[in-house]
């Protein structure tokens, strides 16, 4: 695919990186030379120093040949205009990032009238991701395929003390479940039977929902049925706002601590059922006075990654175990998770994953970016003539970084083992480590003659 990305901030960079690693032709456009220099040095993309809403600039990027234009500058209005222009000038699909909650309400109007194929809202997406995590009965974020029959879960080994130190083969993993990857100190490890589990590991599991649930229940002692009823949000920015709306709709108790007075006013007017407290989130006295550490979960969403991390650690120390921190720099995520914070959310990555999900490429659909973008889950329809059909999975000798996680054949869900043979027409969920991403085409696409 030929893709133009306008605006190379954190999200733009993440997208350029993800798309170019999958072998797409990516043009990165920004009016700031420094932003471009970063992509130029680290990614195999074509940098273009231009202002995206100049028609000449878009024409210079050969807009008519483009399959997708993504506008993710800092400015909502610019993004809408760029997407609109790009569509009119011939880009097949266009995506715009819009963050302002007021505009978000008119998203459907914009989509219809300005022919913008998709409007993404990183703050909303992030809030939804956190809400999903908080409301799910299981303490892992789940990616649900096939109407909940199959799910992917990531679990910290620390939550299941009895599996730490044991080998994978000793765990008694149910037949309909696989441990596809382990993230250890920020590195993706593809486990085998003899991999030993360390306390800091995060396990990525794929399988039918019952088998994962039963496995989890068998090993996790203390938290069954522990449903979250009250949540404290530090920082009442856009994500905090969307999150509060979401959680309130699920009848949870929500407290927001925000240091900006007018913002508190704004939130209080719009979120009638939430308790809005004006104060400094790093003030421990305030936190204690307000009984923050007694709530079931804490979400730290202030503008500073460092502050989020410290508050989360503080909450940990006060005995909270449901702590989520926002990390705008994706490089912080492994460190934060290593320090025991349950979940570190990165808006850029969540949005990138959402955009990737939207972009079908032939028969491939991206489902999720995992482990800080180092691995990806994709769903593929296997067509006649693909190399993967030749033999059983064990005989094919797939690269280490490619794992077939599950197969959907008609209504049946199959969690494959070495003897499984894929048939044409199957839909497969494949886990790939990004360094092996380009190999997916070789094994799963029909050979072109």
């Amino acid at each position: 695919m030929k893709i133009l990305i306008v605006g190379i901030g954190k999200l733009g960079y993440q997208l350029a990186s993800a798309f170019s690693q999958k072998g797409n032709d990516v043009i990165a456009m920004d009016k700031d030379p420094e932003a471009l220099q970063r992509v130029e040095e680290h990614l195999d993309v074509l940098p273009m120093l231009n202002n995206g809403f100049e028609i000449d600039a878009l024409k210079e990027a050969h807009i008519k040949e483009l399959d997708l234009t993504i506008s993710v500058t800092d400015d909502d209005e610019t993004n809408i205009l760029v997407a609109f222009l790009a569509k009119r000038l011939g880009s097949k699909k266009v995506i715009a990032r819009v963050r302002n909650p007021e505009y978000d309400k008119q998203a459907s109007y914009l989509k219809a009238e300005m022919q913008i194929d998709r409007i993404v809202n990183p703050d909303l997406a992030t809030a939804n991701e956190i809400a999903r995590y908080l409301t799910g009965a299981l303490p892992f974020h789940t990616e649900i395929f096939e109407a909940s029959k199959v799910l992917v879960a990531d679990v910290h080994a620390g939550n299941m003390p009895d599996i730490v130190g044991r080998l994978i083969m000793e765990l008694g993993i149910p037949r309909n479940m696989l441990v596809v990857a382990i993230v250890r100190n920020g590195q993706v490890i593809i486990p085998h039977g003899k991999t030993q589990i360390e306390p800091s590991d995060t396990l990525y599991m794929i399988g039918t929902s019952d088998s994962i649930e039963s496995f989890y229940k068998a090993h996790c002692q203390n938290r069954i049925g522990n449903v979250i009823k009250s949540v404290t949000i530090l920082g009442g920015g856009r994500i905090g706002y969307y999150l509060a709306v979401n959680l309130l709709s699920k009848r949870m108790e929500v407290k927001i601590i925000e240091s900006d007075k007018p913002r508190c006013q704004y939130l209080a007017e719009r979120l009638g059922n939430a308790l809005i407290i004006h104060g400094d989130g790093t003030d421990i006295n305030l936190l204690e006075d307000e009984g923050i550490f007694n709530s079931d979960a804490l979400v730290s969403l202030t503008g500073l990654d460092e502050e989020n991390l410290l508050i989360s650690l503080l909450a940990k120390q006060h005995g909270m175990d449901r702590v989520i921190a926002k990390a705008s720099r994706s490089s912080y995520i492994p460190i934060i998770e290593k320090l025991g914070v349950e979940m570190a959310v990165n808006p850029a990555m969540i949005t990138a994953a959402e955009i990737m999900r939207f972009t079908y490429e032939g028969n491939i659909r991206s489902l999720a970016l995992l482990a800080g973008g180092k691995a990806e889950l994709t769903e593929l329809v296997i067509e006649e003539g693909a190399y993967i059909l030749k033999d059983s999975l064990a005989e094919l000798n797939l690269p280490k970084g490619i794992i077939v996680g599950c197969i959907m054949r008609a209504d049946q869900v199959i969690i494959p083992d070495g003897s499984t043979r894929i048939k044409a027409g199957d839909r497969a969920v494949v886990f790939t480590v990004s360094s092996d991403q380009q190999m997916v085409t070789k094994y799963f696409h029909p050979v072109r003659r």
């Binding site: 960079y13 170019s20 072998g23 032709d25 130029e40 195999d44 590195q187 490089s331 973008g373 480590v433």
Partner: protein, 496 residues
């Protein structure tokens, strides 16, 4: 520093070089020359070392800026050492230093030779000698990129360190595609010129050898008299025009192919390049006519050919231009410094840098009159980033410094000033022949080994645009860097 991966890539480069020596082996076999075994042994050596080095398994495939420079600098030296083996083993040159000099001169598309009599050399050797021009012209690593499976992100670092010009232009989003496009254009020009030369009655072998010398802007010939011995005005005009074409940024050929004529016509560097070439040939033509050196037609012919040859840093000759009046000779020396366009196969400072420097000077004048004026330096209507402008200034200054110190070094040989300085200008600019002792009639064989190694260094530094070589030689490159030229964490895709 990812030494394992660096070793592996240089290994792959040598394997690749083995394949590139093969055509010379075929030429040698067809001519039943005495050089078959030396070439074969060079291939065996290259393959052995290449496979051994390529067998090193990298722990991860990360290539940073440093690795890029290291691969290009050492890759070139390794390619030159292996490439020197056929010369040395066939006994064409007396010492290994001579063989190394000749190969460096080939790969860097200089065309400076230590061979006093070319015509007695076996054909396979001569073919290899010219083929190194073709390989080095567009870049051996760029070629390796074009044929090898994707190197991914690291490829950009290699491309940047090897491609001439202040900014490396990517033509297509993917590095590999860019490399392929450049080589397709390169091959297209090669085929066309070979065909045109053959129409002029030149044999396939000699047409190929001279084409390699032309499109790579090298200048090795099969004749002692260079192109002058090849015969005829037609051949001279063909080579003259193709030298000029090879001195143009190859990215423009892609634009031309895509039908973007306006973009090509408005390209500022191209306009100045053609302009300077026409101006220089006219001045030389007038000088030759007024001093009654030759007749008018011959004056046009020789003036154009040598302007084109020297400015593109090719170094083919048809007559002894050293016998020209001093005015014309000095113009040639000036052209040696200006050189061809960025992104072409030619060398020296490059037209675009010279243009930027003149614009800077103009701006300074202007600022004296209007101290508060804000005047950006523009190329093709776009303001250049200040760091690129300062990069151009320091490049040009370093270039002149190298020229001065190189000349100083050569004067220790006890030769005259013209010969010493033109030798450095001709090697640093990858031209080949100079003036005086190194004019079209002379060669570099009389220098002592130390001078030859120094000149080889000049050629490599000139071809790799100074910084690639100097960066690798600088102590901070090898020390533990504080800031680190490593990739950000976000790109850390290592699989353990």
């Amino acid at each position: 520093m990812n030494y394992r991966y660096v070793t592996r890539i240089i290994g792959l480069l040598l394997v690749f070089e083995t394949a590139m020596i093969a055509p010379s082996l075929i030429v040698s076999l067809l001519n039943r020359g005495s050089d078959t075994m030396p070439i074969l042994w060079a291939m065996v050596t290259s393959l052995t070392f290449g496979l051994l080095m390529a067998a090193v398994k990298p722990k991860d495939k990360r290539l940073g800026v440093k690795e890029g420079f290291l691969i290009v600098a050492f890759g070139w030296v390794a390619a030159c050492i292996i490439g020197a083996l056929p010369f040395y083993w066939s006994g064409s040159v007396p010492t290994f230093v001579d063989a190394f000099f000749e190969t460096v001169s080939g790969f860097t598309t200089t065309g400076a030779t230590v061979l006093p009599d070319i015509e007695i050399m076996p054909r396979g050797i001569l073919f290899w000698r010219s083929f190194t021009h073709w390989l080095g012209g567009m870049g051996i690593l760029v070629l390796t990129l074009a044929v090898m499976p994707a190197l991914g992100v690291g490829a950009i670092q290699l491309f940047r360190a090897e491609t001439p010009g202040p900014v490396a232009d990517k033509i297509s989003p993917k590095m590999k595609d860019t490399a392929v496009i450049l080589y397709v254009a390169y091959m297209g020009i090669t085929v066309l010129e070979t065909a045109l030369l053959m129409l002029g009655g030149v044999s396939l072998y000699e047409a190929l050898v001279h084409t390699f010398g032309t499109v790579g802007t090298g200048g090795f010939s099969t004749r002692n008299l260079s192109v002058g011995g090849l015969g005829g005005a037609y051949v001279e005009w063909v080579i003259g025009i193709f030298m000029m074409l090879s001195g143009i940024n190859f990215a423009l050929y892609y634009d031309l192919y895509k039908g973007r004529f306006k973009k090509v016509l408005l390209n500022e560097e191209l306009r100045y390049y053609i302009g300077i070439m026409l101006l220089a040939s006219t001045l030389i033509f007038l000088n030759l006519v007024f001093t009654k050196h030759t007749g008018a037609y011959d004056a046009i012919r020789h003036a154009y050919f040598h302007t084109s040859s020297i400015m593109t840093t090719t170094g083919f000759t048809t007559i002894d231009y050293d016998a020209w009046p001093t005015f014309s000779r000095l113009i040639l020396i000036m052209l040696m410094f200006i050189g061809a366009s960025a992104g072409s196969t030619g060398g020296a400072i490059k037209v675009v840098r010279v243009v930027v420097i003149f614009k800077m000077i103009k701006r300074e004048f202007f600022k004296v009159l209007h101290p508060r004026a804000v005047v950006p330096v523009t190329i093709n209507g776009r303001a250049l980033r200040p760091d690129i402008v300062s990069g151009i200034m320091s490049f040009s200054f370093l270039y002149l410094l190298m020229f001065l110190f190189g000349s100083l070094f050569l004067t220790l040989e006890g030769i005259d000033l013209t010969s010493a300085s033109s030798a450095v200008a001709a090697t640093l600019g990858n031209v080949g022949p100079g003036l005086g002792l190194l004019g079209p009639k002379g060669n570099y064989s009389f220098f002592n080994p130390a001078s030859k190694l120094m000149l080889s260094f000049m050629m490599l530094a000139g071809r790799l645009e100074l910084f690639t070589v100097f960066v690798v030689l600088s102590p901070s490159f090898w020390g533990r860097s504080k800031k680190g030229a490593q990739m950000p964490q976000a790109l850390d895709n290592g699989l353990e």
